[in-house]
């Protein structure tokens, strides 16, 4: 069988991903998660001494905490099947990736299982976040030193 013509057959018959529907679901799910984040940040600003800028750190930590509960009770994967990127892109999705791997690999022990595998899924985010931050800052620093731009 010719692979190319076969791929055409597959494209014709296999069900398509419902892109528009998925996008709408992602929009709503992601929107709700971010709104919850916004409300939590108001709580931190109103009741504690956090400013708009500094409230984002405890807010993110709280969101990850909520993500831990939802992951542990098996709810986050259902949100994930519904919301797709809507639940994967917010920091709760990052938390879910770390926490689900930690729970999953508990069976191999806390060092070789949890410790080694925790960042199995979320690792690339930190690696490439850090590396791109390095590159971007390096370029900017060079440009500033050359006097092309200023900070």
């Amino acid at each position: 069988m010719d692979p190319n013509s076969y791929q055409q057959t597959v494209d014709e018959i296999a069900p398509k991903r419902p892109v528009l529907k998925n996008c709408l679901k992602a929009f709503v799910t992601g929107g709700i998660i971010c709104s919850v984040g916004q409300l939590i940040s108001y709580v931190y600003m109103y009741f504690f001494s956090f400013t708009e800028r500094t409230a984002s750190n405890p807010t993110v930590a709280t969101m990850v905490f909520i993500s831990m509960l939802l992951t542990g009770f098996g709810i986050y994967k259902k949100i994930g099947q519904f919301g797709g990127a809507g639940s994967a892109v917010p920091v709760t999705g990052f938390g879910n990736a770390v926490i689900s791997a930690a729970i999953e690999h508990k069976s191999e022990g806390f060092i070789l299982g949890v410790g080694v595998n925790m960042f199995k899924l979320a690792g690339p985010v930190i690696v490439y976040g850090t590396f791109s931050a390095f590159v971007v800052t390096l370029i900017k620093t060079i440009l500033v030193k050359m006097g092309v731009i200023s900070w």
């Binding site: 709503v28 600003m45 109103y46 708009e52």
Partner: protein, 135 residues
Amino acid sequence: MKKFGLLSCMLLLLAGCSDEKPQVSIYHVDDDQEEVEMLKEVFHDNMKISEASGVFFDHQLVVSLQVEPLSKFSKEKIANSIEKEVKSLFPDHEVFVSSDLKITWELKKIIEKQPTEDALKKDLDELRALAKENT
């Protein structure tokens, strides 16, 4: 898709409400109405400001402001230009401007209390320390 339409309508509606003059509350420890009016003018002239507060105290001036939602993207720039303007108006004052919501809330609390000079100094120092935190 309906949702998008609805939300954009709301956006327009809310943006359309910005004709009103900003809410301004100013507290002057020595009750110098001339200075208060001068500061009020600055805010009233700027269409992008929705809310502003100020406290005069011992040659110091602490200002907080909130900008119209759709101008929030350039919040930092607006705050900087206001800071410059206020500084040129009150050259003998030590001016501090913040556009943070938390600072607005705290400053309003202070103004409501109408505190004495000593209490004010302590509160305002705390406020400025808070606003300077980065993380």
